[in-house]
């Protein structure tokens, strides 16, 4: 635990990738395999079953620190992180003890999920009393569902590759999917020979890069192929040894949530891995909102299966007849994919059509029609490219439809978390309805650090009212918000809900009276069908 806590400090202290990597390599070189396995597990963001509700953790910590509830909340608002708040508020440890990571995880973290209520409290309080402040923070983080360390999985993989002397791609595949953090796993992870037992595991996903300057990027012509960019869940459907698994891009096994795909996959040959997008489908894709009803819902009921049926829109084949074919050109993989799917002939496993990409104009024309096809843009892929690992620029590009935009007025603000802890960075925006501003959307990102500071200072000096952590501010600042979709909602005051709202820029040139009205925004609804720029 001391060594891992020291590693955490080294990782947290620097924002230089080279230093982080150095810290990881040092740690993995020195750590015993069982500890290293746990470190990989934690650092790659694998979820530990949440041992207790955070409400209990709060209550116990508050009592230990002897603070009224409101003061605990004020502290939390200022710190922006529950685990850290608790670590800072507890009295110092009376009984420090040197734990090894695997025993600590087993006896103090995993043990909590099987312990009874009173046992759990005794265990947590005893642990707090045994740990130094930094270790205590880690412990709280593990209890509250995960430690984000500011290292990417890629960096952990690179460090492991360096320690093991094995290519990073091999390590990447080995850490993908479901595994237990044991010494044996760690040995297999850094082993030089590559005859892995990978039966249920997906390949690392290849991710497309954003096409920033379509006019000047050479992504058109005979070497390129286009596809619709579907708005669903990226997933790999794996059929091996007569078993089916479905993995989402977040590397979660989601097979039980989509029984219709599991059933359809039975027709696939063994040793076959499809890459594609899970979509709710009814003669065409339904908006993402429909898919949200299926997410995280294990073993969905009949009604849901009927109302929101899903398909896999496949666009790549990564493994065929048990062979990893990721190094073969896209054109070859797609041809195989077409053959596989036509042999299966399932109405659940569809082929995402290849579209012409001969020129900028042709693709731009496609993109203009994307919304009509239920897509959120177009993808451009180099026909000779292999299937790479992670976000490697150059072969796969996504060119999304421009977001819808609305000019809205800042109404409420709350303090942020993490790097933005303590600063007012969580904003609610309003638009005009019958001469009144009604809340319309929340947005967090999109401003530069300097802009955040400016807006933060404005909020502090123009607060009309503070209600708990939420400040109502004078309605003076106008922002342009972008979002990907809009639908009616009974849960929102404006009667509208937007998808992926974000701040595009501050409109210092606009006065609040000039912000958009509800009528103008209603015209953006798909059913309105009118020109969204009308009424501007």
């Amino acid at each position: 635990m001391k060594a891992f806590s020291a590693l955490y400090r080294r990782l947290d202290e620097t924002n230089k990738t080279s230093r982080k990597r150095e810290a990881l390599v040092d740690y993995f070189r020195a750590a015993p395999p069982e500890s290293a396995a746990w470190a990989v597990f934690i650092l790659t963001g694998r979820k530990i079953k949440r041992a207790l509700p955070t409400s209990l953790l709060r209550a116990w910590a508050r009592e230990r620190a002897g603070l009224p509830e409101w003061l605990f909340e004020e502290s939390y608002q200022a710190v922006g992180d529950l685990a850290e708040t608790v670590a800072l508020l507890l009295p110092p440890a009376a009984n420090e003890r040197a734990w090894r990571l695997p025993e600590f995880m087993a006896e103090r973290v995993l043990a909590l999920s099987t312990a009874g209520e009173s046992e759990r409290r005794a265990l947590v309080e005893a642990t707090w009393n045994e740990l130094s402040a930094p270790e205590r923070f880690l412990f709280n983080k593990l209890l509250t569902g995960g430690l984000r360390v500011g290292v990417s999985e890629k960096l952990v993989i690179q460090a492991l590759a360096e320690v093991a002397g094995v290519p990073a791609e091999v390590i990447a595949h080995r850490v993908t999917g479901d595994w237990q953090p044991t010494g044996a796993f760690y040995h297999a992870l850094i082993a030089r020979e590559t005859s892995d037992a990978l039966s249920g595991r997906p390949y690392p996903f290849y991710l497309a890069s954003q096409l920033e300057r379509p006019e000047s990027t050479p992504v058109f012509g005979p070497d390129w192929s286009a596809e619709w960019k579907w708005d669903g869940i990226r997933a790999q459907l794996i059929r091996r040894e007569n078993r089916t698994t479905l993995w989402s891009r977040g590397e979660e096994m989601v097979t039980p949530a989509f029984p219709e795909l599991e059933a359809a996959a039975e027709a696939l040959p063994n040793g076959c891995v499809l890459d594609g997008e899970v979509l709710v489908w009814n003669n065409g894709p339904l908006p993402f909102g429909a898919l949200q009803r299926r997410l995280g819902r294990k073993n969905p009921g009949k009604t849901l299966l009927r109302d929101a049926p899903v398909i896999l829109m496949a666009y790549d084949l990564l493994e065929y007849l048990g062979a990893d074919i990721r190094e073969q050109p896209l054109a070859v993989r797609r041809e195989r994919l077409r053959a596989v799917l036509s042999a299966v002939a399932s109405d659940r496993l569809l082929l995402s059509p290849a579209l012409p990409a001969e020129s900028f104009a042709a693709v731009a024309a496609l993109r203009a029609k994307a919304a009509a096809h239920g897509a959120e843009g177009v993808m451009l892929k180099r026909v000779r490219s292999p299937y790479r690992v992670g976000r490697v620029r150059g072969d796969w590009w996504k060119w999304k439809v421009d977001p819808m935009t609305v000019d809205a007025v800042l109404l409420y603000a709350q303090r942020g978390h993490g790097r933005r802890a303590g600063l007012y960075t969580d904003y609610s925006f309003g638009i005009w309805k019958n001469g009144e501003l009604v809340p319309f959307a929340k947005a967090y990102s999109g401003l530069t650090d300097a802009e955040i500071r400016e807006v933060d200072a404005f909020i502090r000096t123009h607060t009309v009212e503070a209600f708990g952590p939420v400040r109502t501010v004078e309605p003076r600042l106008v922002f342009e918000l972008g979002f990907e979709g809009i639908r009616r909602s009974t849960r929102h005051k404006s009667g509208l809900a937007v998808r992926f709202p974000r701040i595009l820029r501050r409109r210092t040139d606009k006065r609040p009276e000039e912000a958009d009205t509800l009528e103008r925004v209603l015209a953006l609804l798909p059913e309105a069908g009118s020109d969204p720029e009308a009424g501007r």
């Binding site: 947290d12 202290e13 620097t14 924002n15 230089k16 230093r19 620190a65 603070l67 009224p68 409101w70 003061l71 004020e74 502290s75 200022a78 710190v79 922006g80 992180d81 850290e84 708040t85 800072l88 508020l89 923070f137 500011g150 978390h417 993490g418 790097r419 933005r420 802890a421 303590g422 600063l423 650090d449 500071r453 933060d456 200072a457 502090r460 000096t461 503070a466």
Partner: protein, 346 residues
């Protein structure tokens, strides 16, 4: 606050009608009594200032040679109209003072910024008994509990030693007035040479002239270049971070010394290699202890987490209220971003 209170909040800042003077006004006024020389307390353009004599040098450096500055030694009393005024050490920076006013047997104390922890570069805080205390609350939340400064300095020196061994120059950021000198006084100067940014060195000269002992420092002149082999440590104001001025030190490691470094979010936002928790303000326990020791019947809370501290004191049976401040100073980014222009410190 009540209408016949000795001190009234006004648009210009805290005002004493009986004495016809302001304390730490944020706009130019006729007469200002000033607790300390950070620019969010000592503003330009007043007709006359009154400060603690121990702070004259720093006030001169900040307010200019033209300013009319009257001084009073710590503990000495002066009657202004019918208000008895005296200054008492606040332990914040060199010459910092709490201002005590006595009218008709009622005693008011304005603490200004203060700390009760050890600091060899200024006179230690002295508790002053009073009827009404007006306290700052920059770090007025129970999460703020300072580590022992001796332990922090050990960590600073250990970090410097490691960097020196790794061939890196150590650059520590801290406010030019106060924090920088406290840092310098805590260094183990046997590790290597110590350099200072011009803004820091100017204040060091004032401190040395006032008899504060600091290690030997070299001003970073235009032609100075380091390459890490010297094992040097540089003390610079936060505004130097990420500026072209830093290029001369490559390769280097950076650190920031401030009370805000206790919180991870603030540390990460600063994006330095290391954060050292070193504050010149009271933390939560010492704020409560100072209120206790004052014996005050009423407590006005300003500058920071005023509402939180006032509510907490009220729940503990004291009469307390929050006094609004023009300064947003409740947050690190405000104070750190503007600190160099304003001289404000944390």
């Amino acid at each position: 606050m009540q209408p016949n209170d000795v001190i009234q909040p006004t648009a210009q800042g805290l005002f004493c009608p009986r004495g016809n003077f302001y304390i730490d006004p944020w706009r130019p006024v006729e007469r200002a009594l000033v607790t300390h020389a950070h620019a969010d307390h000592a503003r330009w353009g007043c007709d006359a200032y009154m400060v603690a004599s121990e702070g004259l040098g720093v006030f001169r450096a900040r307010l200019g040679s033209e300013a009319r500055i009257e001084t009073l030694s710590y503990g000495e009393t002066r009657t202004i109209n019918d208000v008895n005024v005296s200054f008492h050490p606040a332990g914040h920076i060199l010459g910092s003072a709490q201002i005590r006013l006595e009218v008709d047997g009622e005693v008011w104390v304005v603490t200004g910024d203060y700390k009760t922890g050890l600091d060899p570069t200024c006179a230690p805080y002295e508790p002053v008994r009073c009827t009404v205390m007006i306290t700052e609350s920059t770090f007025g939340l129970p999460v703020y509990r300072w580590p022992d400064p001796a332990v922090v300095f050990e960590a600073v020196n250990a970090w410097w030693r490691e960097n020196a061994a790794a061939g890196l120059t150590s650059v520590v950021f801290g406010y030019a007035l106060g924090k920088a000198q406290r840092l310098l006084a805590g260094l183990d100067a046997t590790i290597g040479p110590v350099y200072t940014h011009g803004a820091v060195e100017a204040m060091c000269e004032v401190y040395r002239a006032a008899g504060v002992s600091l290690p030997v420092t070299r001003r970073v002149e235009r032609d100075i270049r380091l390459n890490g082999s010297e094992g040097a440590l540089v003390v610079a104001p936060p505004s130097a971070d990420d500026s072209p001025w830093m290029r001369r030190f490559q390769p280097y490691a950076t650190a920031f010394a401030s009370g805000w470094m206790l919180v991870r979010g603030a540390r990460r936002r600063r994006a330095v290699d290391r954060g050292f928790v070193l504050s010149d303000h009271v933390d939560w326990p010492s704020l409560l202890a100072a209120v206790e020791a004052s014996g005050a019947e009423r407590v006005g809370v300003t500058h920071g987490n005023a509402a939180v501290v006032a509510r907490f004191l009220n729940e503990r049976g004291r009469t307390a209220w929050a006094i609004p401040s023009r300064y947003t100073g409740e947050n690190d980014d405000d104070s750190s971003a503007s600190a160099e222009e304003t001289g404000g410190a944390s």
